[in-house]
Each structure stands twice: as structure tokens, then as C-alpha cells.
Symmetry: C2
Subunit: 250 residues, 2 copies
């Protein structure tokens, strides 16, 4: 029995997200269908976590356990030849028996992209969040430091989510801008449902002056969803990397 770790890129535009479901095309289902063609067996893959419809991945990770004869290093080429063109396997490596894409993960990196221009852009529409209003980027940058560290992020979780332990640690949160694109990068030991999108939305609200930086620390501490900013839309979000080595933690 081999345990194989896959690193996956996908364009989330035409998917109903990662997780297999009854209706609608999903990334998990497409990869499982491709695996069946390659190794002639029904295989269930474990993703590091779900992504919503429209969310992209540069480095989603999944694993599966199965017996098969094809050399592991040939898996990416074999799978990519049968996968649709909005999914690609970037890497496949054999890992130890106890590796699980979700339970072994110790952290994740997400990127969130905002297009802050005067007019909506057809070429960027599926890959950025279009914000027309003026954004005070200096304020947004100053706001990042309030998120860094260990906090109870209950107020930054989609309401209705059932998770009990809502304490997470953000190791790093940075903002860069170039040619009207604002790029937010965030690394943490884990993220609640919609947490990155609510952080991105809150940073936009700070940039617009709707939320004051002075209130941010208290907003986080309040643990109230309604005090945080809006949920930024899915198409600006990219799951960039999943970490499994403790050493990545600064």
C-alpha cells in the first residue's frame, strides 16, 4: 500500500469548489475520476481542506492510499494527460503511512488579490476582487499587525459555522501593491471557514475608512461576526501552500 501526496493547482472558476458533492463539478471528483483511469481503481483522496466555488489553488495538497504499479514520479504526467485543463498535478511524492493531507497539516498560506482600479476589468474578473473606491493602502498595511499572533478569530468565521475551538495563530500577514493590484499574503496554523475572506474584506473596509484602525484590536477581541468587515468574494482567493514541516513556523 502506497501513500501518495499530491500538490495541485486549479482555476476555481468553473468548479463548485473542492469537495465532491451530489450535483456540480468539483476538483476532488475530477481528480478521483482521473486516478481511476490511471490506476484502474476507485480511490478516495483526502484534501488538506475544502475550497469554495470560485476559489483557486496554487498548492492544494491531497493524499490517497492504494496499491498500484505505476512509479509515483510518473503520476503527475499520467494524471495531467487525463485531467481537464483547469486542474494540474504539480508534484506527487510517496509519503509515510501516517501522512494525512488534512490532519498532518501544520499551517497554510493564502493569497488574496484585489483589483483597485476605476473600472471593472474583464481580464481580471475571475482572479481578483474588484474594488472601485479609493483605498488607503497605508492604513491597510498598518492594520495587518493587529491580526498577527494568536487570537480567538470567532468574529472572523462565517456565521453558522460549527467549529468550537476558534483560536488560531497568524504568523504573517503582508500587503503589497503593484499596478492597481493589491496582494495580501497570510500564513497561519489554520483558518476558520471564510476567515481569509473576512480578513480581506475587513482590510478593504479599513482602506475605505468604514472601519477605524483604532477599533480593530477591540473588534477582534469582541468575537462578534457583525463587528468585523464584509466577506470578500471567492475569486480573489488562492490557497497558495500547505505546510507539513514544523520548521516553516518562524
Amino acid at each position: 500500500m502506497k501513500n501518495v501526496k499530491l500538490t495541485i493547482e486549479y482555476d476555481g472558476t468553473n468548479f463548485y469548489g473542492w469537495q465532491r458533492q451530489k450535483y456540480g463539478r468539483t476538483v476532488q471528483e475530477e481528480i478521483e475520476k482521473a486516478l481511476k483511469k490511471i490506476i484502474k481503481k476507485e480511490v478516495k483522496i483526502n484534501g488538506s481542506g475544502r475550497t469554495d466555488a470560485g476559489v483557486h489553488a496554487l498548492g492544494q495538497v491531497a493524499n490517497f492510499e492504494e496499491e498500484f504499479s505505476i512509479p509515483v514520479e510518473k503520476i503527475p504526467v499520467a494524471l495531467n494527460s487525463v485531467l481537464p485543463d483547469d486542474i494540474a498535478i504539480k508534484k506527487a511524492v510517496e509519503v509515510s503511512k501516517d501522512f494525512h493531507a488534512r490532519y498532518s497539516a501544520v499551517g497554510k498560506k493564502y493569497i488574496y488579490k484585489i483589483y483597485n482600479g476605476p473600472l471593472r476589468s474583464p481580464l481580471l474578473r475571475n482572479y481578483t476582487y474588484f474594488v472601485k473606491d479609493y483605498l488607503n493602502k497605508e492604513d491597510m498595511k498598518k492594520a495587518t499587525k493587529f491580526f498577527i499572533g494568536e487570537h480567538d478569530f470567532k468574529g472572523f468565521m462565517a456565521s453558522g459555522s460549527q467549529v468550537k475551538d476558534t483560536v488560531r495563530t497568524i504568523y504573517d500577514l503582508s500587503i503589497e501593491e503593484q499596478d492597481c493590484i493589491i496582494r495580501i499574503e497570510v500564513k497561519g496554523n489554520g483558518f476558520l471557514y471564510n476567515m481569509v475572506r473576512i480578513i480581506a474584506g475587513t482590510l478593504v473596509d479599513i482602506g475605505k475608512g468604514k472601519i477605524n484602525i483604532e477599533d480593530l484590536s477591540e473588534i477582534i477581541q469582541s468575537c462578534k461576526r457583525e463587528r468585523a468587515g464584509h466577506t470578500a468574494p471567492p475569486q480573489g482567493l488562492y490557497l497558495a501552500e500547505v505546510y507539513y514541516e514544523k520548521t516553516i513556523i518562524p
Copy 2:
């Protein structure tokens, strides 16, 4: 009667190109349909030139002549509210009676993007030409100078094209690279059918060592399509700007 110049961005992925045709969705048709909704009249727009299926535009230009009451500066917002999200009007200005998007044009700028990485990228698939093989970028850069200037580009025109005068002037051709993306920028007084894509394909063939730089001058002079490189695919091509001022010419 007003004459209006429109500057247009579009994502060419889901279009059968610019020009209105019997079957298949086109950019021209969508803009004409949107204009009809806004000014309640059947309007024909003149594009600066056609673009093929899959080709994008950052600055396509079109004009139309019509009587209407809505202020010209409000046209972009009005049109964008009814246009599909893969087309946007970036600008509308009233121009003199004799302005024609195609016949008044004195030059164009195109961008061609190549993704030179080890594996196909789902996120870049519709916006770049994926080239897996090693490309000698220094050779590609050295090759650019042979294209600059006035040449008979007959060998860099799709075979079957009926244009008689195949002499064109390239003012500038440059190559930049960043993170596996090779960005070719070319400005000229006009371009033959598929000319930019054949120049891009020829540069790729030079990068691969399939065509020698030493032969390039003679290949251009030969005026033979079969001596030039392959036609690079449409999705890497962007019509970036159309020039109407003689002053842009260096």
C-alpha cells in the same frame, strides 16, 4: 450626428473573435447589442481591426456615428452596466467626423505572453502560450533587432491571406521575463494577419534552437511563410493599444 471613439478591454476566451458573424458570440455583436439597449437604435461599430477567437484586448478601439441624447462621458458606465462581464468599455470620447477606428489608425501595440514553466498551468491556460522546453532567452532578445524597421513581412503572414502590400514597419520589439512569464511587446504601423503570432512563434523557435539567429535576416527577406517559425496560439495575444497620433512614432 456624433462620432464616438470607444476604448475596449475584453477577455477573448469565450468569443469567436471580434467580428460579427452568423454563428458564435462575438465582441462586436455584444457591444452593438448593448448600444441598442442604451441609445435605442441599431448601431454599427467599426473596430480598429479584427481579433481572432481567444485573443484578448486591453485597448481595442471602435467608433460609431449616431444621434443620441446621453452625454458621451456617461457612455462607459451605461454600456458596462448592460455588457457581459468579459467586455468593458474603458473610455468614450467624441471625435471629429472624419475619425474611423480602422482607417485613421497609424499604429498598434500588441503584447504576447509565454509561460515557460515545467508543467501546464490551469490559472494561466487561457492567458499565455505554454512552452515547456528550455528557451534561450538571450538568443530571443538578440533576435528582436532583426524585426525592427521596415520589412516586407510576407513570410510572417498566414498563408491564404489576400493582402497585396505586405510591407510593414516595426518601431519596437522587446522581451522581458519575470517568474517564468516571457512578455513580448511589439509596436508597428500595422500588422498582417497572424503576424504577431508568427513573430512570437519564430522567437520561440529561436529560443528552442530550431531556428538560428544567423539565418533570421535571410528568412525575413525570403518572404516565404514556410521559412518563418510556427504560429503561436491565440490565447497569449493581447491587442494593447491603437495609435492615432503621428507623434507616437519614435
